[in-house]
């Protein structure tokens, strides 16, 4: 099993290298010059020149790329062009908020998605199942920012139950502030989970080993919740993993609506301000999160499925 993992991690290195290069060159090609933006209305040409030298943008592309590469490998993402604050500090500050949001959303998605998926599988082909399917489709199809603003208006303005902005400090307050945004994202993923859970559950129920279990006289509840559920959980874990990437990029808009700091809004502002070091830093961190999540999914995959654990 460990050999399997080493191979998987080694495979990610070329991917990461490819991503870093794409990020670097894509940014250099994007129109808009950070010095101009910073100087705003009265940016005199020599001031622009001075800033370029300060930012090291005057050096040839290849040199910039090489310095960028060996900095990144040593984990130093450089300093923000504007505030000269070190990028890694900004990332460390922004990362926990996105991480909490992602985790809480997945948590809510599982709490809603998995049980409803099971129920929909048990009550297959009934009215309830069809109803659930349509509802989950509506939630899946509705754009996240509409759902978000809807929750905000109802649960924050009309019924002043939840705060509409900020992150709060202290463990419980953070959760309290997380509820609305994570429900917005969570329901979307839950909808996908329901559909996936239900179809994978149905597939398991019709497998041969279920007939053996029933022939052993095991009560229907156990047949369903012990045997069928266990095997149908495996593909669901991959769905969560896949949704993770979508979630991180979707979080950008949710962080905007709920005025939450985080990796998404950091990257977004940096792109608009052409703050290359910050963009590079946050996208690389994005990438690391996704790769780690995929590894975690593989880990839980083998945890659940003994056959892979042995191979």
């Amino acid at each position: 099993m460990i050999k399997y993992f080493i191979r998987r991690t080694l495979l990610t290195i070329p991917t990461m290298f490819l991503c870093i290069t794409i990020i670097f060159f894509c940014l250099r090609v994007v129109p808009g010059d950070p010095a101009l933006i910073m100087l705003g209305e009265n940016a005199t040409p020599e001031a622009v020149e001075g800033l370029h030298k300060a930012m090291g943008l005057d050096k040839p592309i290849w040199e910039q790329y090489l310095t960028f590469l060996n900095d990144t490998l040593q984990g130093d993402f450089g300093k923000s062009i504007y505030s000269e604050k070190s990028v890694s500090k900004q990332l460390i500050e922004a990362f926990p908020h996105t991480f909490n949001l992602a985790l809480m959303s997945i948590f809510i998605a599982c709490i809603i998605g998995i049980p409803l998926g099971i129920v929909s599988a048990r009550k297959h082909n009934t009215l309830f199942d069809d109803g659930l399917r349509v509802v989950s489709l509506i939630v899946l199809a509705a754009p996240a920012f509409l759902v978000g603003i809807f929750l905000l208006i109802v649960f924050s303005v009309q019924i002043p139950l939840f705060p509409s902005m900020g992150v709060g400090n202290g463990f419980f307050e953070k959760i309290y502030y997380l509820i609305l945004p994570s429900i917005t994202i969570g329901t979307g993923i839950a909808a996908a989970l329901i559909r996936f859970m239900s179809s994978s559950m149905i597939e398991e129920i019709n497998k041969d080993y279920i007939r053996t279990v029933r022939a052993k006289g095991i009560p229907e509840k156990l047949v369903f919740y012990k045997h069928a559920l266990r095997n149908s959980l495996i593909p669901v874990v991959t769905v969560i993993g896949l949704n993770m990437t979508g979630l991180l990029s979707g979080a950008v808009i949710i962080e905007m609506i709920f005025s939450r700091p985080g990796l998404g809004s950091l990257a977004l502002d940096a792109i608009f301000a052409r703050d290359f070091p910050v963009v590079q830093g946050s996208l690389i961190l994005f990438m690391l999160i996704v790769i780690i999540v995929n590894l975690l999914v593989d880990l839980s995959y083998s945890l659940l499925n003994p056959r892979i654990r042995q191979s």
């Binding site: 041969d208 053996t212 022939a215 006289g217 095991i218 009560p219 045997h227 266990r230 003994p306 056959r307």
Partner: protein, 320 residues
């Protein structure tokens, strides 16, 4: 010998846009204590369906139209699942054809074996472990200690079939239904499993309902045999009687198309034609279109299962 299980005029089928389509047509037979009865027939003749009807394991869209399955004083087809579950695995158990897919890949053998004991008796964990080891050695599985911790994919086909048998016989049931247990295994393992079943059958004095398409297996293990064709029983009797003198053309056709070691016949005889489709069953005798001896009557009037003796019966107008 007391009658253990009696299947009376069972008809099973499904409903497709309103119209009822029969799969089994009033199948009746008895199973006595300690006896092994074989059900033989081509694939699709309904032999597995009969077994699933007894066990109450029919899939959702197939149901029992009429007829009863009596076991001791209970009528199995009407029993609610909770009560049926008290019998299944304890008094009537079943093993299946595909050992590769019949065990849950995510649980250890020990876990799946212990389940049977847990639900059919209140044993302590230690007792369960003890009984599991005992039953595993009974089915001749080498070093049962490791096997308890092993996962199904780590065992060979034959080994898995032995585990299935162990699970079936764990609570020394009165009846064991074996649905083509050896078909998916290669010949050498097939023989070991058959010997094992015979040995255990004698040891536990369990009566076995053996479903197969292999006449050789029937000859070797069964006392009585039933031949089924297109959802009907067309011939029944002791193995000796039928092998000695098959009186239904289909049965004799089956016998002749089975190659015999050392027999002079070079080319095997085959039965021409194909099993009729269930949603357009021929009127009259269902074997008529393929029967060399068929006459007009066979096409118009459906023959009934004529009882020639206590054990013997044939459904044919021109018995051989």
């Amino acid at each position: 010998m007391g009658v253990l299980l009696e299947v009376k005029n069972i008809s099973v089928g499904t409903r497709r846009n309103g119209e009822f389509i029969g799969i089994l047509e009033n199948v009746s037979f008895k199973l006595n204590k300690g006896e092994t009865v074989g059900i033989v027939g081509e694939s699709g003749c309904g032999k597995s369906m009969t077994a699933l009807t007894i066990m109450g394991l029919l899939s959702k869209n197939i149901f029992v139209e009429s007829g009863t399955v009596n076991y001791e004083d209970k009528e199995l087809t009407k029993l609610p699942t909770t009560e049926l579950n008290r019998l299944r695995g304890k008094e009537i158990s079943m093993i299946f054809q595909e050992p590769m897919t019949s065990l849950n890949p995510s649980f250890t053998i020990g876990n799946q074996l212990a389940e049977v004991y847990k639900h059919h008796g209140n044993f302590s964990a230690k007792e369960i472990r003890q009984k599991s080891l005992e039953i595993l050695s009974k089915v001749k599985i080498s070093d049962p200690e490791d096997k308890l911790k092993a996962y199904p994919h780590q065992l060979s086909g034959g080994m898995r079939q032995r585990v299935m048998i162990a699970m079936a016989l764990a609570c020394s049931p009165k009846i064991m239904i074996a649905d083509e247990p050896t078909t998916a295994l290669d010949v050498t393992v097939q023989a070991q499993i058959l010997d094992l079943i015979n040995e255990l059958q004698a040891g536990f004095n369990t009566s076995v309902l053996f479903i197969t398409h292999d006449l050789g297996v029937v000859a070797e293990t069964c006392h009585r045999m039933i031949v089924m064709y297109a959802g009907q029983i067309i011939e029944e009797g002791t193995v000796a009687e039928i092998f000695d003198h098959p009186s239904h053309p289909y049965t004799s056709g089956l016998m002749l198309s089975a190659p015999r070691l050392g027999s002079a016949i070079k080319r095997l005889k085959t039965i021409k034609g194909v099993v009729p489709d269930i949603d357009n069953m021929p009127t009259g005798c269902r074997f008529a279109p393929r029967c060399p001896y068929a006459t007009d009557i066979c096409f118009e009037k459906a023959p009934f299962l004529e009882k020639m003796s206590e054990t013997r019966g044939v459904r044919c107008w021109h018995k051989l």
